[in-house]
C-alpha cells in the first residue's frame, strides 16, 4: 500500500515536470489556428515553418547570435581570470588572502540585481551601456565569485608535492601553473564552464537593464518581447518555436553533463 502511494506520488511529480515542457515542444509544431482549436491535442501535421518564422521574422536568430557571442566571450575571459585568482587563493596564502577571498565569496550571497542602478550609470559613463562588450564585462565580474569558489576547491585538492617537484625541475611560478596545475584542474574548468554557460545563456535581469536596443537583445529579452507581442499579434506557433529554441540547447547540455552538474551543486552547497 505504502509503495503504491509512493509510486503514484512520484508519477504525479514527474508529470508536473514533463507535461508542461512536452506541451511547449508539441505546441511549437502546430499552426496558430490549431493551437486555439485544440490546445492540448497532438499536432495534426508538424509545422516546421514556425521555426523559420521565429528565427528570421521574429528576430530570434539575431538574438541567438548575440547570446552565443556574449556567452562565449564571457567564458573566454572569465575562466582564465577566475582560474588565476583561484590558484592564488588555493596555493599562495598571503596576509589578507582570507579576507580578500571572503569579499569574493560574499558576491554569491546577495542578489546581483541590488547594485544594478550604479552599474547602469557606470557603464553609461564608460560608453559601454547597450553594447555586448558592456554586458560581457558585467557578466565576467558577476560570475567571478562562483567561479573562484569552485575552482579554489579544485586547486586545493591538487597535492603541493607536484608543484614542488616541478619547481625543483626548474619550472617558475607561471610554468608550474600553466604546465602542471592547470591541466590537472581541467575537470573543474569544464564543470565551471558548463555551469556558467547555462547561467549566462538564461540571464535576464542584468540584460534587461543594460541592453536597450533591439539589435543587441539577448535570447531571454527577445523571447519575452515576443511573448508580450503575441498578446496583440497572433503568431503563437512562432512564439512556441522560439521557446524551444531558447530552452532546448540548455536541456541537451544539462542532460549530457547531469551527473557532473549534480555533483558540483551538492559539493558547493554542503561545503
Amino acid at each position: 500500500m505504502k509503495k503504491v502511494i509512493t509510486g503514484l506520488g512520484l508519477i504525479l511529480f514527474a508529470m508536473t515536470i514533463i507535461v508542461p515542457l512536452l506541451w511547449v515542444i508539441l505546441t511549437s509544431l502546430k499552426s496558430t489556428p490549431e493551437i486555439f482549436r485544440s490546445p492540448w491535442g497532438l499536432p495534426e501535421s508538424p509545422q516546421w515553418a514556425n521555426y523559420s518564422n521565429a528565427w528570421s521574422k521574429e528576430g530570434i536568430g539575431g538574438s541567438f547570435k548575440n547570446t552565443g557571442i556574449v556567452t562565449i566571450a564571457t567564458l573566454a575571459l572569465l575562466i582564465p581570470v577566475g582560474a588565476m585568482a583561484a590558484y592564488i587563493f588555493a596555493k599562495y596564502p598571503f596576509r589578507g588572502s582570507k579576507t580578500l577571498s571572503g569579499i569574493f565569496m560574499g558576491g554569491m550571497m546577495f542578489p546581483n540585481f541590488l547594485i544594478v542602478i550604479p552599474l547602469y550609470f557606470l557603464l553609461r559613463q564608460m560608453s559601454m551601456l547597450d553594447t555586448l562588450t558592456g554586458l560581457v564585462v558585467a557578466y565576467v565580474a558577476y560570475s567571478l565569485s562562483f567561479t573562484i569558489f569552485v575552482l579554489t576547491g579544485f586547486f586545493q585538492a591538487l597535492p603541493n608535492e607536484l608543484a614542488e617537484a616541478a619547481q625543483l625541475d626548474g619550472c617558475g611560478h607561471f610554468s608550474t601553473f600553466s604546465r602542471i596545475m592547470l591541466p590537472l584542474a581541467k575537470p573543474g574548468l569544464i564543470v565551471v564552464g558548463i555551469f556558467n554557460a547555462i547561467g549566462l545563456w538564461n540571464e535576464y535581469p542584468l540584460a534587461k537593464v543594460l541592453v536597450l536596443s533591439n539589435e543587441n537583445r539577448t535570447l531571454p529579452l527577445a523571447i519575452v518581447d515576443l511573448a508580450t507581442a503575441q498578446q496583440y499579434a497572433s503568431d503563437w506557433g512562432a512564439l512556441f518555436a522560439g521557446l524551444v529554441i531558447v530552452m532546448l540547447p540548455v536541456m541537451v547540455v544539462y542532460w549530457i553533463f547531469r551527473d557532473k552538474i549534480h555533483e558540483t551543486m551538492l559539493a558547493g552547497a554542503v561545503k
Binding site: 512520484l10 508542461p20 585568482a85 547594485i115 544594478v116 614542488e164
Partner: protein, 294 residues
C-alpha cells in the same frame, strides 16, 4: 612554494580578478549605499543630498509595504512548501530503480531552463481560455480560479506555485543527499526499538537532517530575495501590486520612474532584510541538536 618572485606572481595573477570585481561589483555596491541618501533623476549634476528622506518615504510607501510582505509571504509559505515537498519526494526517491534514476535526471529541468521560459510556461498553464490548470479546474468543478494571474487575491499564490515548481529540484537533491548520509545502522536500530513510520521520521530522520535543513534555509532566503524575472514576466508585479516584490519595485522606481536615489534605497532595504534574515537563521540554527546529545 619557492619564494623567488612570489609576490610579483601573486599580484600578476590576482589583479585581473580584483580589478574586474572591484570596479563592476564592489564599487557599485558602495555607491548603492551612498546614492540612497540622495534624490537623483539620473542626470549627474542634479544630485541632491536629502539624508534619510528616501528611507522615511520608503517606510511610508504602501508599495514598499506590499513588496516586503509579498517577499516574506513567498519566503514563509513557499519555503515551507519547498521543505515539506522536497523531504517527502526525496524520501520517495531513495531507491535505485531505473525509473527513479530517470526522474532524478528530470527534476532539475525547471531550474536549468531560463526563468523567463518558466514564467511564460506558467502564464500559459494559467491562461483563462485554454490553460491546462484553469481548464482542468473548471472540468472537475472548481470555480473561481479561471484567471488567477488577473485576480489580485490569487496572483501571489499563482506566482508562488511557479516559484516552487522552478526551485524544488535542487532541494530534493539536497535532502536526497542528506537522507543517504543517515547510516543504515541508525535506521535499523530505531526499527528494532519499535520506532516506525512517522514516529521514526520525527525522532530519527528529522533531527539528523539538521545541517541539510540549515543549508536549505539559507538557499531559500537567497532564492526568494532574488526573485525578479519570474514575477516581472508573469505579472510585472500586478494586478494592483498584488505580486510586487522588492526587486520589481526597485526596477520600477529606477528604470520606469527615473527615481534612481529612491530605487537604491529599496536596494539597501533589501540588503538589510538579507542581513536580518541571516541573523535569524544563525539564531535558529545556532546549535546542532545531535552534537549536544553526543
Amino acid at each position: 612554494m619557492a619564494k623567488r618572485g612570489r609576490t610579483a606572481f601573486i599580484i600578476a595573477f590576482l589583479s585581473p580578478a580584483v580589478l574586474l570585481y572591484g570596479i563592476f561589483v564592489v564599487w557599485p555596491l558602495l555607491q548603492s549605499f551612498y546614492l540612497s541618501f540622495y534624490r537623483w533623476k539620473g542626470i549627474s549634476e542634479n544630485r541632491t543630498f536629502i539624508g534619510g528622506e528616501n528611507f522615511a518615504q520608503l517606510f511610508k510607501d504602501e508599495a514598499f509595504h506590499k513588496a516586503l510582505s509579498n517577499n516574506l509571504w513567498i519566503l514563509v509559505v513557499g519555503g515551507f512548501a519547498i521543505m515539506a515537498l522536497s523531504i517527502l519526494l526525496a524520501h520517495g526517491m531513495q531507491s535505485n530503480k531505473p525509473a527513479v534514476k530517470a526522474l532524478r535526471g528530470l527534476y532539475l529541468f525547471p531550474q536549468v531552463i531560463s526563468l523567463v521560459i518558466v514564467a511564460i510556461i506558467w502564464q500559459f498553464m494559467l491562461n483563462p481560455s485554454y490553460g491546462l490548470l484553469t481548464q482542468g479546474a473548471a472540468k472537475v468543478g472548481i470555480t473561481g480560479v479561471d484567471k488567477p494571474l488577473a485576480n489580485s487575491s490569487q496572483a501571489l499564490a499563482a506566482v508562488g506555485v511557479a516559484f516552487v515548481w522552478y526551485a524544488i529540484g535542487f532541494y530534493i537533491m539536497l535532502f536526497g543527499a542528506g537522507l543517504k548520509q543517515i547510516p543504515e545502522e541508525v535506521s535499523e536500530a530505531a526499527e528494532l526499538d519499535g520506532s516506525t513510520g512517522w514516529n521514526k521520521f520525527w525522532q530519527i530522520t528529522w533531527p539528523l537532517l539538521w545541517s541539510i535543513k540549515r543549508i536549505a534555509s539559507i538557499y531559500i532566503v537567497i532564492n526568494v530575495l532574488n526573485i525578479f524575472a519570474l514575477v516581472w514576466v508573469m505579472t510585472e508585479g500586478g494586478p494592483n501590486r498584488a505580486t510586487e516584490t522588492l526587486l520589481t519595485l526597485l526596477y520600477k522606481s529606477a528604470f520606469k520612474e527615473s527615481a534612481y536615489g529612491y530605487g537604491t534605497s529599496v536596494a539597501v532595504a533589501n540588503f538589510a532584510l538579507a542581513m536580518i534574515l541571516a541573523v535569524i537563521l544563525m539564531f535558529v540554527f545556532r546549535k546542532n541538536p545531535e552534537e549536544r546529545r553526543g
